[in-house]
């Protein structure tokens, strides 16, 4: 059995997105800035895609800027809000300890430029942050609050509408990194009090290399890329028309089927969680209910995540881990550490992010495959042996 359970990393393109994209590769290939009819046809496609995406987000078309993806949108949102704040002497930014690196590294850069950053701690295990925490952290000099809609590793869905309301009341800009949420959870920027929002097409069946930055009218964007007058002069470079058109189709399709996708995924996700919880000395990471419909994340004590992934791959399962050996650094995932998982168990983490077409038979296979591999690796682990003999105390 082959199961791709790494949809939080990227999804396969939906048929609708591929079909929408193809004509823009070799038939309608003009540059939308060109005056001739070939260019104008591309320009019309760009206008239409912008209107369709704006409609789904509850935004106005002119409030959207197309970017190269979620990271660029996050960077531009945060830098723009920081520069706006700086003009009125506000140099404080509030965020959380579990944001994506596209946010955290941008904040680090601003810190080096003299901004003060408060990273709110999250609730142990669940990873939730509360509107009250945000309210308490806001000061006179706060320029921006940036809190992700849903976490990419542990799947926790943050109360962004309530956080947005707090920010609105206090007159502070609110950005949300909605990369994991878009296409999977409802978004309405007006209802949810969002001033800036980032999303990425390849997380919901669109192509890689294209995303959106929503910035409410009145929020002045700072360019990251200088050049031509594309995107109202706020993001230079010839527009990725095939990508943008495909993104619109993918978002439309996932928005139209969101309820049925959730109704299908949530019981299967919960079955997978219940199945993996039967593995002794394991623990679910993230909130059990306020959770992305397709996300499952566990720590297994006594084993290391990379070996787990390699052996699962041999069994046809594509998954992801927050262990140091898979993160490319010496430390395990900052998200797992922030929810209180110590290094020893954070190394043994596994993320399974389900696709909307996952079946119950696949869930059964996943449970059996993971249980099998965990038990095999524990059998050769000196840590597990020490835990079993009492030389080392169980953490989970």
């Amino acid at each position: 059995m082959q199961i791709y359970a790494d949809n939080a990393a990227t999804t396969k393109m939906s048929r609708a997105a591929i079909d929408a994209m193809l004509p823009y590769l070799d038939k309608v290939y003009g540059n939308p800035s060109s005056l001739h009819s070939a260019g104008q046809r591309a320009s019309e496609a760009l206008v239409a895609a912008r209107e369709r995406i704006a409609g789904i987000l509850g935004a106005k078309p002119q409030e959207l800027t197309f970017t190269s993806g979620g990271s660029e949108a996050d960077n531009q949102a945060i830098i723009s809000a920081a520069k706006m704040g700086e003009k009125s002497g506000k140099k404080h930014i509030i965020s959380t300890a579990i944001e994506h690196h596209a946010v955290l590294h941008t904040l680090k850069k601003l810190e080096n430029e003299g901004f003060t950053v408060t990273l709110l701690p999250v609730e142990p295990v669940t990873g939730l942050v509360t509107p009250q925490q945000v309210a308490d952290a806001i000061g006179e000099d706060t320029a921006l609050v940036t809190v992700m809609y849903a976490n990419n590793e542990i799947g926790t869905v943050e109360p962004i509408a309530e956080i947005g309301a707090v920010c609105r009341e206090r007159g502070v800009l609110f950005h949300t990194d909605a990369v994991q949420a878009a296409g999977h959870l409802p978004i309405d920027v007006r209802v949810q009090n969002i001033d800036l929002l980032s999303l990425s097409a390849h997380k919901f069946g669109g192509p890689k290399g294209v995303g959106v930055l929503y910035a409410r009218r009145g929020v002045r964007l700072t360019n990251l890329i200088e050049g031509g007058a594309q995107e109202r002069g706020k993001r230079a470079g010839t527009e990725n028309i095939p990508g943008i058109v495909a993104m619109a189709a993918a978002l439309e399709e996932s928005a139209a089927h969101m309820d049925e996708a959730s109704a299908h995924l949530i019981p299967l996700r919960d079955k997978l969680i219940a199945g993996l919880a039967r593995i002794p000395h394991s623990a679910l990471n993230g909130d059990p209910d306020k959770r992305l419909p397709g996300n499952v994340n566990f720590c297994f004590e006594g084993i290391e995540g990379e070996s787990l992934l390699l052996l699962l791959d041999d069994k046809g399962v594509c998954a992801s881990s927050g262990s140091a050996c898979t993160s490319g650094s010496l430390d395990p995932s900052h998200v797992l550490l922030a929810i209180g998982r110590v290094h020893d168990v954070a190394h043994g983490s596994l993320r399974l992010s389900l696709g909307t077409d996952v079946t119950e038979a696949e869930i059964d296979y996943l449970i059996a495959a993971v249980a099998d591999v965990v038990s095999y690796l524990r059998g050769m682990s000196p840590v597990w042996r020490d835990l079993q003999t009492g030389k080392r105390a169980y953490i989970l």
Binding site: C325, V342, H347, M380, S381
Partner: protein
Amino acid sequence: MALYSETVMDHFRNPRNVGVIDNADGVGEVGNAKCGDIMTMYLKIDGDTISDVKFETFGCGSAIASSSMATELIKGKPVSEALQLTNKAVAEALDGLPAHKLHCSVLAEEAIKAALKDYYDKHGIEYDHSLFPDCAHCEGCE
């Protein structure tokens, strides 16, 4: 996955000499759980020959493969030869390791040295202490 050579994947998928030796003549454990890898080596020594060797490893694919290869390289060999085992030899026998995984082969060398030192200590055998420098901390433990 193209991250590892076929030899690494073979030793990872089918590790040689996994297990424990009861009443081993020498046991060495290196690494720590915080860094994400621990290796334990067990030696059975008859006369001057390593007649049996087993390992247990908590760690990534290359840590398991490095342990497995290291046991193969010293099994049946004289103690003096096992003392000469280098991390480079382990990595080469595995047809190479990615640069950021070389510390796994270092750990395998250290685990075997630690087991040999334990054998000398347990059996009251005199040895050259310079053969066993203090744990060369992997960067992860700093």
